[in-house]
């Protein structure tokens, strides 16, 4: 593909999304016997999923080496993905 991927945009978007889930949403959980459990679940989910995604994108941000492809793959991708 021709378009370059920006680095900042996904960081901002996903941080905002998981921030919404983990920090903002707990304020809106209705009162009831399960309020504490639901808030815990929201915060834990946000932390786990955000951290996992962050590790994935940071590991690829500055690659030290590139993929090694077979010649058939290169023939094919050269024209398919451009």
């Amino acid at each position: 593909a021709m378009t370059a991927h920006s680095f900042a945009l996904p960081i901002v978007l996903f941080s905002a999304f998981w921030g919404l889930v983990g920090i903002a949403a707990p304020w809106f959980v209705p009162k009831g016997p399960n309020r504490g459990v639901i808030i815990t679940m929201l915060v834990t989910t946000a932390v786990c999923c955000y951290l996992f995604w962050l590790i994935a994108i940071l590991a690829q941000a500055n690659p030290l080496f590139g993929p090694q492809l077979k010649n058939e793959t290169i023939w094919y991708l050269r024209f398919l993905w451009e």
Partner: protein, 833 residues
């Protein structure tokens, strides 16, 4: 915070029950299921307890019920449905139930006996009828003259002596007729021939319809035999031989007329008997109907009654005050409900004096009660499987609701497999109220059903991690365009077709501008699934991910310990245990996490030839050496690392000696007259309100606690030493243990790839109509193997490892788990087998 975060407050209480209303009070409490009763007569054998007579009566009734149920089952009936759970019966009603059930059992026994004897008779008559009928064939056949009589087996054309020969021999012909088992025919015949040769004629014929053998109950085609003989001794011999072979012998009338007469009479009797048998069967069906209707209710009633009496046996009977005292563990929240139940019970039994409950202070450790709903019950049970939380300790379950499925998903990550698991669990959840699902008897199915919410979350998180790993049935998806540009690399390095033909493998170089265009925004780039060196990249990524997540998980565990220290009012442990633990963990392993992130951000392809190795730096940090070829990650790295290592090493003696020394100092400092609850988290027993079971020695030893603590200083020190060693060594080994996240996710990815390459891809080889037909069995094989190997086997494996990580690596940072559960006395819903 709700009760899922920490177990509820449970107190010891005493119930004072009037003997008249004790039964109904306990029954009411059992219906509500609030309290756990303690046995106040532990040294009394079950045969000497007060209510042993009533318990025995209940057991007798249960015996009758078992007999009734067996009869129902033998008749192929199903017991009726139970509309709502009946309450434990009062004494009069119980008597009525006992009488009725015994009466029904008696009736049932009589009727079945009658029916059996009627059936026997009928069978007998029928056999006789057949014998006569078949024998008729022989005795009315005209025999050819002069043919010598020869016994021959299984032939129904055997002629018998006709009257002319009879006159010739001047003897009277007698008959023995009967029925014999078909397997014994040959030996019977042989014996007859040897014993009475020449003086008899035997003929055998099979019965036209099979009849029941009373001994074995199966249908056999009997063989009818008719022996004509002359001579008295021969007759006796024949009868003895028939006796030996267990034949059923019937009198065979001589003349034709008497035979027809007997046949008619037999017909008549058979008719009568059939009618009587029908009536008996109808009556039996009525009795069984009555039983089927009443049995379920009776069963539940008697079970409840027995349970109540067993509980009453545990109470101590205070003869002077004419009341029963029961000791219970009661959740403090429910004390008002208990009072209400006692009031209801007294009212129902018509007594005017009310029973009441009184709270009693105790120094014993109460049981743990954590209330769960259908969603949280599954997660609480996997935590409890390792150890029930100690009283009022922090409960790991609410965090495990999310971290357990998440850690499972890291090892299982695949969109396709996760989706299948999610849909399976969704089906179970949506239809959870259907009786067919609930009443399954297969244990394995029940295990899956109990964990349906667990599996639902596991599937959902697996879909998420599958997207991050970019694996859907081992294939990558290009939701966003890939970050690596093959064309740019090819143009830059002038990879012509000829060049490509001679070079099998070529690598994309991220140093060249335009080849790498920024990181893939969500997950792993799809080009890696096409690369031959994809494991080089993925291994590095997954290992670092496992270490980072592991250290975060363990750090969270240490932080949870803070809640325990604060709740049990042991604030000294915050400074003397939590702080050194945290410093040790963060200075060493938190720094490792920092190094990982730093290297990811700061080093790129431009310095790839000289990129520093984190592993070598980490080892050098501990050994206080340095490696010339391994350049530092940032300026000033060596002094920073030295400081961190010194800090970590310094925290070890604080952890080792801090708490014991603090406790020693508290002891030897001038003691305050009021002992506030700071040292002992639970109240010491006071003289008046102690548990009924405590003896005088227990009360006295309670006052000795400061001295006993002094004697146990060695034990405290030993305990703390073990804890320190366990913690410090554990930090290292547990961090390495989290690498199983990498190992299992690699195994899962490789297995799915193998299944794709070696099974499914072969179905796409032929691109014709025939190929389409071939695809069907190939897909079937792929589907079966996916479910069996990848979903079931890998799923169980990842489940097990996620469980281990929680139980050992996470929980040993804060959890003690030495409690016991509150088992309230409640009438469990009856399961009808």
């Amino acid at each position: 915070m709700g009760s899922l975060f920490r177990s509820e407050e449970v107190c010891l209480a005493q119930l004072f029950l009037q003997s008249a209303s004790a039964y109904s009070c306990i029954s009411e409490l059992g219906e509500r299921g609030l309290l756990e009763f303690r046995d106040l007569n532990p040294k009394v054998s079950p045969f000497q307890r007060r209510f042993v007579g009533e318990v025995r009566r209940c057991e007798e009734m249960e015996k009758t019920f078992t007999f009734l149920q067996q009869e129902l089952r033998a008749a192929g009936r199903v017991p009726g449905p139970l509309s709502e759970s009946p309450r434990a019966p009062a004494a009069r009603e119980a008597l009525r139930v006992q009488e009725q059930s015994e009466q029904l059992a008696q009736e049932l026994r009589e009727v079945t006996r009658n029916r059996a004897s009627l059936r026997d008779n009928l069978r007998d008559l029928r056999q006789y009828l057949h014998v006569l009928r078949e024998g008729q064939r022989f005795t009315s056949l005209p025999a050819p003259l002069g043919s010598p009589p020869r016994p021959r087996a299984h032939s129904d054309r055997e002629p018998i002596l006709d009257p002319s020969l009879h006159q010739h021999l001047e003897r009277k012909i007698n008959f023995v007729s009967g029925v014999i088992h078909p397997w014994r025919v040959t030996s019977f015949e042989r014996l007859l021939w040897r014993a009475c040769r020449g003086y008899l004629v035997a003929s055998f014929v099979e019965m036209p319809e099979p009849m029941e053998d009373l001994a074995t109950g199966e249908n056999i085609t009997w063989v009818i035999f008719l022996i004509s003989y002359w001579g008295e001794q021969i007759g006796q011999k024949i009868r003895k031989i028939s006796d030996c072979f267990h034949c059923q012998v019937y009198p065979y009338p001589e003349s034709e007329a008497s035979r027809t007469d007997t046949t008619t009479k037999l017909h008549g009797r058979i008719q009568e008997l059939s009618v009587t048998l029908e009536e008996t069967e109808k009556y039996l069906a009525e009795v069984l109907d009555k039983v089927a209707l009443a049995l379920p209710t009776w069963r539940v009633q008697v079970q409840k009654m027995k349970a109540v009496y067993l509980v009453l046996n545990q109470c101590s009977f205070d003869v002077t005050k004419k009341c029963l005292i029961a000791e219970v563990w009661c959740p403090v929240q429910d004390l008002t409900q208990v009072q209400d139940a006692l009031r209801q019970g007294s009212y129902q039994s018509g007594s005017s004096v009310e029973c009441f409950v009184q709270r009693v202070p105790t120094s014993e450790r109460p049981p743990t009660l954590i209330r769960t709903n259908k969603f949280t019950a599954g997660f609480q049970s996997i935590v409890d499987a390792y150890g029930v939380a100690s009283y009022e300790e922090v409960n790991p379950a609410p965090y495990a609701i999310i971290t357990f499925p998440f850690i499972f998903a890291i090892m299982f990550g695949d969109v396709g497999h996760g989706l299948l698991m999610f849909l399976f669990a969704l089906w179970m959840v949506l239809y959870e109220d259907s009786p067919r699902l609930r009443q399954g008897t297969n244990e394995i199915w029940l295990m899956f059903f109990e964990g349906r919410y667990l599996i639902l979350l596991m599937g959902a998180f697996s879909i998420y991690t599958g997207f991050i790993y970019n694996e859907c049935f081992s294939k990558a998806t290009t939701i966003f365009p890939s970050a690596w540009s093959v064309a740019t690399m090819a143009n830059h390095s002038s990879w012509s077709s000829a060049y490509l033909a001679t070079h099998q493998l070529l690598t994309l170089d991220p140093n060249i501008t335009g080849v790498f265009r920024g990181p893939y925004p969500f997950g792993i780039d799809p080009i890696w699934s096409l690369a031959t060196n994809h494991l080089n990249f993925l291994n590095s990524f997954k290992m670092k991910m496992s270490v980072v997540l592991g250290i975060v998980h363990m750090g969270f565990g240490v932080v949870l310990g803070v809640f325990n220290h604060v709740h049990f009012r042991q604030k000294h442990r915050l400074v003397l245990e939590f702080l050194p633990e945290m410093i040790f963990l963060l200075a060493l392993f938190g720094y490792l996490v920092f190094l990982i992130f730093y290297k990811w951000i700061k080093f790129s392809a431009a310095d790839s030839l000289m990129a520093p190795s984190i592993l070598i730096h980490f080892i050098d940090m501990f050994l206080f050496t340095s490696n010339a070829e391994n350049r530092p990650l940032y300026p000033g790295q060596v002094p920073v690392q030295t400081v961190l290592v010194v800090l970590a090493l310094a925290s070890v003696p604080i952890l080792l000696l801090g708490t014991p020394l603090y406790q020693w100092c508290r002891q030897h400092a001038p003691r305050m007259p009021l002992a506030t609850g700071e040292q002992e988290p639970l109240l010491e027993g006071q003289e008046a309100g102690n548990s009924v079971n405590t003896t005088m020695e227990d009360v006295e030893s309670g006052g000795h606690s400061p001295d006993t603590q002094h004697l146990d200083f060695a034990e405290v020190f030993m305990h703390q030493a073990i804890h320190t060693i366990e913690y410090c060594l554990g930090c290292v080994s547990n961090t390495a243990s989290y690498l199983r996240l990498w190992a299992l996710s690699l195994a899962h990815a490789q297995l799915s790839e193998v299944l794709w390459t070696m099974v499914m891809r072969n179905g796409f080889v032929g691109l014709s109509y025939v190929g389409g037909v071939v695809l069907v069995p190939v897909f079937a094989a792929f589907a079966v193997l996916t479910v069996a190997i990848l979903l079931v086997m890998e799923g169980l494996s990842a489940f097990l490892h996620a469980l281990r990580l929680h139980w050992v690596e996470f929980q040993n940072k804060f959890y003690v788990g030495a409690g016991y559960k509150l088992c309230p006395f409640a009438f469990a819903p009856d399961t009808w087998e």
